[in-house]
C-alpha cells in the first residue's frame, strides 16, 4: 500500500514500471492465496509424512505410513468410491438438465424471466435448509412425508427413505436435493451463452432446412462449447467437494455406514474428531487432491480446456 499511495502523483503507465504496477494490483490477492491456499497445501503434504495426533508440530517422521494406513482403510476407500459414483451421476445429469432448461426457457415467448427466476431461486437455499425440507418433510420416512403421501394415493407402502442404510433410497434423497439446488445456477450460465449466439446462424441454417433438433445439434451445441467446458469443470469440482448434504442428511444416526460418506466428511471426522489425527487426515487430503487433479486433467484433455487459454 505504500507503493500505491505514491502512484496517483506519478504519470506512469503499465509499460513504464510494469513490475511495480503488476504487484500493486495483483500482490494482495497473490499474498492471500499464498498464505491461505498454497502454504496450507505444502503444510498438508509435510504433515502427511508425520505421526501427528493432537499436534501440529510433530516430531515422528513415519514416511508413507499414513498413506498406507488411509489406502488400507476400507472406510476411506469406500468413501472414495462413493464420491466417484456420485460425481459420475451428478455431473452429466446436472449438465443435461441445466442445458435442457436453458433451451426451454430461452425459446419461451412469454414468461421467460418468470421461469428463469423460478429455476434460479433454489440457489438462494443452502444445503442445510434443503436438508431440512428433504429429510423432515419431503422424504420423511413416515406417512406424513409428502412423497410417501403421494405414494399412498397409489396404494404404496411408506418408504423409510433415510433410516435404511442400504442404497438406493438415501441415494435418491441426496441426489435430488443437489439437483434442485444447483441446476438453476448452471442454467443461467447456459442462458447467457445462448443469448450470445448470433441469430443469423439460425436463419442461414433454416434456409438449408436445419431447424429444431438439427439446429440444436449443428449450431447451438457447438456454439456452447466454451461454456459447456467451464460448466463441466465447475460441476466436477463441486461434486468432489460434496459435504453439506451428506453431513446434514446422514450424520444424525451416528452409525452411518462409510459408503454413505464422501471423503470430505470422512476426513472431517478423522482430522477434527475426537482424536485430531492431522497426519492421517492430511494424507487423505493429499490422496483426494491427486484424484481430483487426475480427473480435472482428464476432463481438460477430453474437452480441450486450457488449449484455448494458451
Amino acid at each position: 500500500m505504500t507503493a500505491a499511495s505514491r502512484a496517483p502523483a506519478s504519470r506512469r503507465r503499465w509499460t513504464e514500471n510494469p513490475h511495480l504496477w503488476f504487484w500493486i494490483f495483483v500482490g494482495p490477492f497473490v499474498l492471500g492465496l499464498l498464505v491461505f491456499v498454497l502454504i496450507p497445501i505444502g503444510w498438508s503434504v509435510w504433515l502427511s509424512f508425520y505421526e501427528a495426533r493432537n499436534t501440529v508440530t510433530p516430531t515422528r517422521f513415519v514416511g508413507l505410513d499414513n498413506y498406507r494406513h488411509m489406502l488400507g482403510d476400507s472406510a476411506f476407500r469406500s468413501s472414495l468410491k462413493t464420491f466417484v459414483v456420485f460425481a459420475a451421476f451428478i455431473v452429466p445429469v446436472t449438465f443435461a438438465m441445466a442445458l435442457g432448461l436453458a433451451v426451454l426457457v430461452n425459446t419461451a415467448r412469454r414468461g421467460k424471466s418468470f421461469f428463469r427466476s423460478v429455476f434460479f431461486l433454489p440457489t438462494a437455499c443452502s444445503y442445510v435448509v434443503a436438508a431440512m425440507i428433504w429429510r423432515d418433510s419431503m422424504f420423511s420416512g413416515v406417512s406424513s412425508g409428502l412423497v410417501n403421501t403421494v405414494l399412498g394415493w397409489f396404494g404404496a407402502e411408506p418408504i423409510a427413505w433415510l433410516s435404511v442404510v442400504q442404497p438406493p433410497w438415501y441415494w435418491l434423497v441426496i441426489t435430488t436435493a443437489r439437483l434442485w439446488l444447483q441446476v438453476g445456477f448452471f442454467m443461467v450460465l447456459f442462458l447467457a451463452a445462448l443469448q450470445r449466439i448470433p441469430k443469423g446462424l439460425y436463419e442461414a441454417a433454416a434456409l438449408d432446412g436445419a431447424t429444431g433438433w438439427k439446429a440444436f445439434r449443428y449450431i447451438t451445441f457447438p456454439q456452447l462449447k466454451a461454456t459447456s467446458t467451464a460448466v463441466l469443470m465447475l460441476l466436477l469440482v463441486n461434486a468432489f467437494q460434496a459435504f453439506d448434504e451428506f453431513y446434514n442428511l446422514m450424520s444424525t444416526t451416528g452409525g452411518y455406514p462409510p459408503y454413505a460418506r464422501p471423503p470430505l466428511v470422512y476426513l472431517y471426522y478423522t482430522a477434527l474428531g475426537d482424536v485430531q489425527d492431522f497426519g492421517n487426515g492430511s494424507a487423505g487430503a493429499v490422496i483426494l487432491t491427486l484424484i481430483i487433479a487426475a480427473f480435472a486433467l482428464l476432463q481438460g484433455r477430453l474437452t480441450g480446456l486450457g488449449r484455448r487459454e494458451a
Binding site: 495483483v26 490477492f29 498438508s44 438462494a124 443452502s126 442445510v128 409428502l146 447467457a192 466454451a226 470430505l264
Partner: protein
C-alpha cells in the same frame, strides 16, 4: 428481454402444438421446483401436530401460526438472531473484500505487460480446479495456530481470496474497451487512477454479478464455519440451523420457520440483483 425470441424457429401466427407442449413442460417443472418452498412455508406456519399427523395430508395449515416467528427468536438453545448478525458481518465483509482484492488482481492480470503475468494466471487457474475444501485441514491448523478459532477474523479472512472471482474479473477486463483507459492516460492518469476513476465506475454491472455470487456463497458456506465456529458466539446462521437438523428431537415448526428467516437476506438480494447476474455473466469469458 422477456419478449425477445432467439430460438431457431420463425414467428408464426396462431398457437403451434409444439409451443403448447413446451409451456406445459415448463409449467410442470416450475411447479416441481416450487414444491420445496411451499413445504417450507406450510410447515413454518403449522402446528407441530399438523406437520407430523399421519391421518391424511393437509395442504394448508388450518390456521397460520404466526407465533412461530417470535418463538424462534426467543429460543435460547439456538441463537438465531446472533448468528444472523454474524453471517451478515461475514458475508458483507467478504463480498466487499473480494470485489476489491479480486477486482484489482483481475485488472492487473488482464492489463499487465510483465512476462510472468501468465504464469501467475495459471497458478490462479490451478487453485480454481483444486477444491478449496481439500485444504481445510492445514488451513484449520494454521488459523488455529494464529488463535483465530471462533473469531470473526478466522471466518472472514481466509474467504477473501477467491480464485473464481479473480478469474471472472480477468476475463471481463480483457473485454473492457481499452479506448476509455487510453483517453484517461493521455490526460496524465496512471494505472491506479485509471482503474478507480474510469474502469470501476464503468463496471458496476459486472461487479454486481460477482457480488451476488460471492454473497450467496458466503451466506450459505457450511464446512469452514463448522470447522472454525466452535463457540456458540461465533456460529453462522447455517451452523445454527444445522443444530436443528442434527438434534435428536426438534420442534419441526420452529426449524422450518428459522429456515425461512435465514433466507430473507438472500431473497431480498435476489429481488434487486437477479437480472444483473444474467447480464453480468454474459460479459464474462465463461462464454467466450
Amino acid at each position: 428481454m422477456a419478449t425477445t425470441v432467439t430460438g431457431p424457429r420463425r414467428r408464426r401466427r396462431g398457437v403451434r402444438p409444439g409451443s403448447v407442449v413446451r409451456y406445459a413442460v415448463l409449467a410442470a417443472l416450475a411447479l416441481i421446483f416450487l414444491v420445496p418452498f411451499y413445504l417450507l412455508v406450510r410447515n413454518a406456519l403449522s402446528t407441530e401436530q399438523e406437520i407430523t399427523r399421519i391421518d391424511g395430508w393437509t395442504w394448508f395449515p388450518s390456521s397460520p401460526q404466526w407465533g412461530n416467528l417470535s418463538e424462534v427468536f426467543d429460543s435460547t438453545s439456538v441463537p438465531l438472531a446472533r448468528s444472523m448478525v454474524n453471517s451478515l458481518l461475514i458475508a458483507v465483509t467478504q463480498t466487499v473484500g473480494v470485489l476489491i482484492v479480486s477486482g484489482m488482481a483481475g485488472y492487473g492480470l488482464a492489463r499487465s505487460t510483465v512476462r510472468y503475468a501468465n504464469a501467475v494466471f495459471y497458478i490462479v487457474l490451478a487453485t480454481l480446479l483444486i477444491p478449496a475444501a481439500v485444504t481445510f485441514v492445514p488451513t484449520f491448523v494454521m488459523v488455529s495456530s494464529l488463535g483465530w478459532v471462533s473469531t470473526l477474523r478466522g471466518l472472514i479472512v481466509p474467504g477473501l481470496f477467491q480464485a473464481l472471482a479473480t478469474f471472472l474479473f480477468r476475463q471481463y477486463f480483457l473485454g473492457f474497451p481499452k479506448e476509455l483507459e487510453e483517453a484517461a492516460q493521455i490526460d496524465g492518469a496512471g494505472p491506479w487512477k485509471t482503474f478507480w476513476r474510469i474502469v470501476v465506475p464503468n463496471s458496476w454491472g459486472f461487479a454486481a454479478a460477482v457480488a451476488t455470487i460471492t454473497f450467496i456463497g458466503s451466506w450459505n458456506a457450511f464446512l469452514w464455519p463448522l470447522v472454525i465456529g466452535q463457540d456458540q458466539s461465533s456460529w453462522t446462521v447455517q451452523i445454527a440451523l444445522s443444530t436443528y437438523v442434527t438434534a435428536q428431537s426438534v420442534n419441526l415448526h420452529g426449524m422450518f420457520m428459522a429456515a425461512i428467516v435465514s433466507m430473507v437476506p438472500l431473497l431480498l438480494m435476489f429481488l434487486f440483483l437477479q437480472r444483473w447476474i444474467v447480464a453480468g455473466v454474459e460479459q464474462t469469458g465463461i462464454n467466450e
